[in-house]
Symmetry: C2
Subunit: 415 residues, 2 copies
Amino acid sequence: MPHLDVPQFLGLLAVLLLAAKALGAAAQAIGQPAVLGELVAGVLVGGSVLGLIDLQDARDPRNEVLHFLGEMGVVILLFEIGLESNLRKLLEVGGVSALVALVGVVLPFALGYGICRLLDLGNLVAIVAGASLTATSVGITARVLSDLGRLQEPESQIVLGAAVLDDVIGLVILTVVSGLALGEEISALGVAKITAVAFGFLIATLLLGRLVMPTLFRLASKHINLPGTPTMLALMLALGLAWLAHVAGSAHIIGAFAAGLLLAGSLHAKDIEKGVASLGHFFVPLFFVTVGAAVDVSVFNPFDPANQRTLLVGSLLIAGAIAGKFLAGYAPFWFKGKKSVIGVGMVPRGEVGLIFAQKGLETRVFDAGMFSAVTLMVMVTTFIAPPLLKVLFPPRPQTPKPPPPEGIEDLVTEA
Amino acid sequence: MPHLDVPQFLGLLAVLLLAAKALGAAAQAIGQPAVLGELVAGVLVGGSVLGLIDLQDARDPRNEVLHFLGEMGVVILLFEIGLESNLRKLLEVGGVSALVALVGVVLPFALGYGICRLLDLGNLVAIVAGASLTATSVGITARVLSDLGRLQEPESQIVLGAAVLDDVIGLVILTVVSGLALGEEISALGVAKITAVAFGFLIATLLLGRLVMPTLFRLASKHINLPGTPTMLALMLALGLAWLAHVAGSAHIIGAFAAGLLLAGSLHAKDIEKGVASLGHFFVPLFFVTVGAAVDVSVFNPFDPANQRTLLVGSLLIAGAIAGKFLAGYAPFWFKGKKSVIGVGMVPRGEVGLIFAQKGLETRVFDAGMFSAVTLMVMVTTFIAPPLLKVLFPPRPQTPKPPPPEGIEDLVTEA
């Protein structure tokens, strides 16, 4: 295998990041979440369009590094989601959120599984596809509600609580599904064991962490005077717990999520969030680009009879994905607010859905067609939720927008 | 070649970062620069001690990724150094700094080259070794002077100006030396051409950049509303110019340095510095760790007769390295301040010296013994300067220390 040509690879990274950021900004300019643009950027640079990267080529040393960079992106993303979550607040919102989350997992899974089985797809394929329908992108939902100035309304609180809970449940499902996809036996005991390990790891980590972290940070603050110490401690915790989760038989991203939860709500969470955000701006788009690059656009050509099945599966999954989450919003039938807002707020699958799709492809449970069908479902659900929410839940113009985070005003002043 | 086991690699990264940060903090605790601890951490985890990583193993897929992460570290480090530099201020300090820088390049090079030739080493080995003696670590020097509260004194300004100029000259030397090391012909015309390309690239980049950047940033600020935009634009510029410098026949790190210089002193430089610093805290220590891991400690055993030559070469290089820079401080003989402070301030070779050593090893101009001798020189010069400076230039206790950058106080409050 040839060795990595570092300067060339640096140029490639510049192009990938530029494409991701430019299309992310373009997506935002037309009122869509940036992640959608990053995915499209990945599709464009991928093997089936421009061919700047070809992730199928196992002999290309760049793919080893790109794969790692993408995985670092997922780890940092899930750490950030964990950091934004708050177990205590979630417990306060309580009943309604839990019911929405539970129905919003069970119903889409049943619909996805049922659709796949009706289409004569295998049991395992149906399980992974169903699982990918259970995800909710807390990042996208929170961002849209915040942009609309509606974050503090009861509907928003319920959606956020359910989305966070959904992330925990989704990660457990991911571990179970990963175990199944890797050929482990599908026994009730096995599923219970994986669930117990995943939940057990999370609970043990949170309990132990709450005991150990204050001492650790006290020691660090006493003895370490390096800049960026809290961020680097947090990152090491995320990387270390990701590895421990894997060793304990759980998914490594649960470890990263647990690290985030552990530090969420602590006094230094804001500082860590800022420091990790800079790392996230570099790594996370590379994850979406590598996911997008794995999409083979040729399967979307409706005039090729070979693709009609992929489009059929994709369309039915989209219908199931939207119906499942939308109906979940009506589960708390006694709630007097806009139940439609809750349902639509749960629709975008975003990054978590893509992780399922990627896992399906990686473990060869999904073929290229099935991967594309699920990716199509993720893209469409992510795409339609923001404009729908804007219609159902008009923005409040009086809410002042927070200042841009990194002095973009300065650029205007100078220019 | 086996594929990278991502969760295991994440655990390895956590351990490498922990070792680097812990030993960096330990180095600081005994009054030494953190970079020294990071180097020692690399030596400890490397093939000749604990063997957590073995960079000599070409079949290990982790090495491809580690090599890339280290290179990203150099790119970010040189971008940061460029960002801290200021061509205009450098021109103001003018004559004295330029003289110190010039003598501080010529004298150590002549001493290093002469010592190697007297020891019957080859012409190319002597050139690369001499070149490694020309470097000055602006980062370490600036950090020490700032810690002593003496940054605004004339001696400090001269040292800083000379160190910055030294970085530019050093990078040009690196390009020339890299060309020579890669077997290009050693003709006066060839050297002149490489020098012209290196300087030409830098000048063209800075001139073109000054024209293009305001428009670019104006467009970006108008159309892009993503968090972290200035930092990511800066990073893309650094990566893109690194690639362009390589394509133009210069060293890729000159491109990263030029990107930093281009943005230095701009209104948003502070924001970019903050954002890039978080990336630097992750990538830069991994560079020092990989450099340290390349050191074979067994060559330092004085009881093994095979090593006595390495230690002899190393000791003589140390003497030449210290004498050359120290005497350079006396070049502006009319200057009435403490000339000894100027000389000692120029002594630490730090990261730039290591880049030369690494380049020598990479191009097989250095064997393991020679690499270790030069690394020893870098470590000793980096090690002795801070305590010597403290003695010659006692700290001013009345200068208030700047607040820690990332809320380390919060940790104390919480703990």
